[in-house]
């Protein structure tokens, strides 16, 4: 389907609104336009019509969702012959001829340059890398322009070994967040680069790497693996890429030694005083009391038990919103959330009563149960005095 049909001078043939059962028709229609434009109709040889004389009838999936809306029909490859696709494939890809066979002017292959210029503005073409094989000077000029606009900054002699899309857990922001970009492993560094606006979001020289650890964490309610990196100064970074193992292996291979080991990094990196250790931690909802302009609401964060206390950290800003030392806990029990809540996960709640009141945590029942047992183990054995 040629969405640019009006440009063909046939406003009456509104192909973009037609839906073709198969691409055969689409192609013929396209052919018809040609013919109309040339003022003559040429029949397509019957031997070329699908199913007649063709050795391998080919499946041309029909065009559905032609306007990009979601129908109740299944999704099928569309064969709409949008100019953008055809251009991309026919001008940039496919076989080309060896230089000694090609038609050239003074040894420079000029093929298609004007044609490309006719089809797209030069800037667009440069943007889309369409000039790659062409004019050397244009390319050089563009390379210079491009260098200031988001080329990966590499030192001399630095070679990229692996490039992977991924994200970095950034704690510096107003609220900590995953910042996406491309991770580059070179023979010298490991860094995260964001193209636009160009910025190195994180970098570490390979010889400063102390250790690596792969650990699962829940992300958007699903388990996934993340990579923790420890530097020689003791700081750590937490990253995620689609293929963690491949990245880990590549780093170790480049550095030339095994780096994977158990690192003692608390979940969410909430800073703990010396001598305090995380015993158990789990993502739970916390019924946040109304405060200032904020109303009472369930919020997601992490409930952690250390050897000394229990605390909950809000995941949005990594701030500790609630804490209580174990010796102040009076009792812990599982119950139902009496209050109305649209979060179904919070029907079952863990209720912790302490000297100052009580707090509610919501989440998966099994996990709540496990947490309850862990808390009970930590509460000092003393007669509970309920007043």
């Amino acid at each position: 389907m040629m969405s640019a049909s009006p440009a063909l001078g046939h406003p009456s043939v509104s192909l973009s609104s037609r839906r073709f059962e198969n691409a055969e028709i689409a192609l013929f229609s396209e052919r018809d336009i040609r013919d109309e434009q040339f003022g003559k109709i040429q029949p397509v040889p019957s031997s070329l019509v699908r199913g007649q004389g063709s050795k391998r009838p080919r499946r041309y999936p029909g065009i559905l969702r032609a306007n990009g809306t979601k129908g109740d029909l299944t999704m099928k490859a569309e064969r709409e012959n949008d100019l953008v696709d055809v251009l991309d494939k026919l001008l940039n890809k496919g076989l080309v001829l060896n230089a000694d066979l090609i038609i050239s002017v003074a040894g420079v292959p000029l093929i298609g340059v004007n044609l490309k210029a006719a089809l797209a503005g030069i800037e667009t073409m440069l943007d889309y890398g369409m000039m790659e094989a062409w004019d050397q000077r244009t390319r050089e000029w563009y390379a210079k322009e491009y260098a200031t606009k988001g080329a990966v900054p590499l030192a001399e002699g630095e070679e990229v070994i692996l490039k992977m899309l991924g994200s970095l857990w950034d704690r510096r922001w107003i609220s900590p967040t995953w910042r996406p970009g491309s991770f580059y492993l070179t023979n010298k560094r490991f860094f995260l680069f964001r193209k636009e606006p160009a910025e190195i979001l994180f970098e570490i020289e390979l010889d400063k790497l102390e250790g690596l650890m792969i650990r699962s964490d829940t992300y958007l309610r699903k388990e996934r693996e993340e990579l923790y990196i420890q530097f020689d100064c003791g700081e750590t970074a937490r990253i995620h890429v689609s293929n963690i193992r491949e990245l880990k292996d590549a780093i170790e291979e480049t550095v030339g030694k095994q780096l994977e080991r158990e690192l003692s990094i608390p979940y969410e990196q909430y800073p703990l005083p010396q001598g305090e250790k995380i015993v158990q931690t789990e993502k739970f909802w916390y019924l946040f009391p109304s405060m200032g302009i904020l109303t009472e609401a369930w919020r997601l964060g992490r409930l952690s038990l250390t050897n000394k206390r229990l605390f909950w950290v809000y995941q949005v800003d990594n701030q500790k919103m609630f804490e209580v030392p174990f010796d102040e806990i009076i009792g812990v029990t599982l119950g139902f959330n009496g209050k109305e809540s649209s979060i179904s996960a919070c029907e079952k709640v863990l209720i912790i009563a302490y000297n100052g009141g009580r707090v509610l945590f919501g989440g998966d029942e099994n996990r709540l149960q496990k947490m309850k047992i862990a808390i009970e183990k930590m509460i000092p054995e003393k007669p509970i005095v309920m007043k």
């Binding site: 969405s3 640019a4 440009a7 001078g9 396209e30 052919r31 434009q37 040429q42 397509v44 070329l48 391998r56 009838p57 080919r58 041309y60 999936p61 306007n67 990009g68 299944t74 999704m75 099928k76 490859a77 569309e78 064969r79 953008v84 696709d85 055809v86 991309d88 494939k89 026919l90 001008l91 940039n92 496919g94 076989l95 080309v96 001829l97 060896n98 066979l101 090609i102 038609i103 000029l110 093929i111 298609g112 004007n114 044609l115 006719a118 089809l119 943007d127 889309y128 899309l165 994200s167 922001w173 609220s175 996406p180 958007l220 699903k222 689609s242 109303t295 609401a297 919020r299 949005v316």
Partner: protein
Amino acid sequence: MSETQEARETEIGESRYLYCIVNCDAEMSLGEIGIDYAKVHIIPYKDIAAVVHACSVKPYETRDHEKAKLWIFTHNYVIDKATERFGTVLPFSFDAIIRGNDDTVKDALSKGYEKLKGELDRVEGKAEYTVQIFCDPEKLTQEILIEDQELKALKEKIEKMPKGAAYLLQRKFELKIKDMISASIFKLADEFSSKIRKYVEEIKVEETSRIPERYKDKKLIATLTCLVSNEKVEELDKVLEGICNRRGYDVRFTGPWAPFSFIKLKEI
């Protein structure tokens, strides 16, 4: 008839415009389906053949947008016709012209025979498909607000507040939404990249890609070019449907194309 067309015809026969390489061992004509209605014929060598038309030594050049478009579409049309008839082909880029006659082409085929035959075997029964995954940030925001009670409450609060007072909160709200959208995209990419890989022979992530006009208001997340076995297309379809059915996401799936992006030889 325009001047250039006339000039072309006077010099006809001195070169061959190449469309593709196919599996075929006999000379034949495909009719006048070529560029500017040129007669397309087949030049075999052993069991492979080049699909060509005779043309002048001049490359096809024009500054006329419409004409260029017709040429390009016709080039692809011939490739499609050849594919229908001979199975998966090795497509040429537009404007690949050999100086010489049928024998010159035969000679080129004989020199490159091993490589060309190897490539034809490799892509047999497969086709190229392009998958573009888009998202609609507005719809994703709505989704996030349904999921996240706290953000929803914040939004409602902002709406009730006077403009000046709401500014900082609004800013914070927007930043948070932006982060959550990128998180959602990463989650989707994670989930589907392994699923998509299962049904494709080869996959390429396009660094640059062009977007059709009607998708301009959406955000392009990725363009993937995949070499897919004919029998696996339906399954790939289903996986993509899975993405499409998510609110806020959209997939543009085009094909089958000749394997433009997957030919391992760059030139013959």
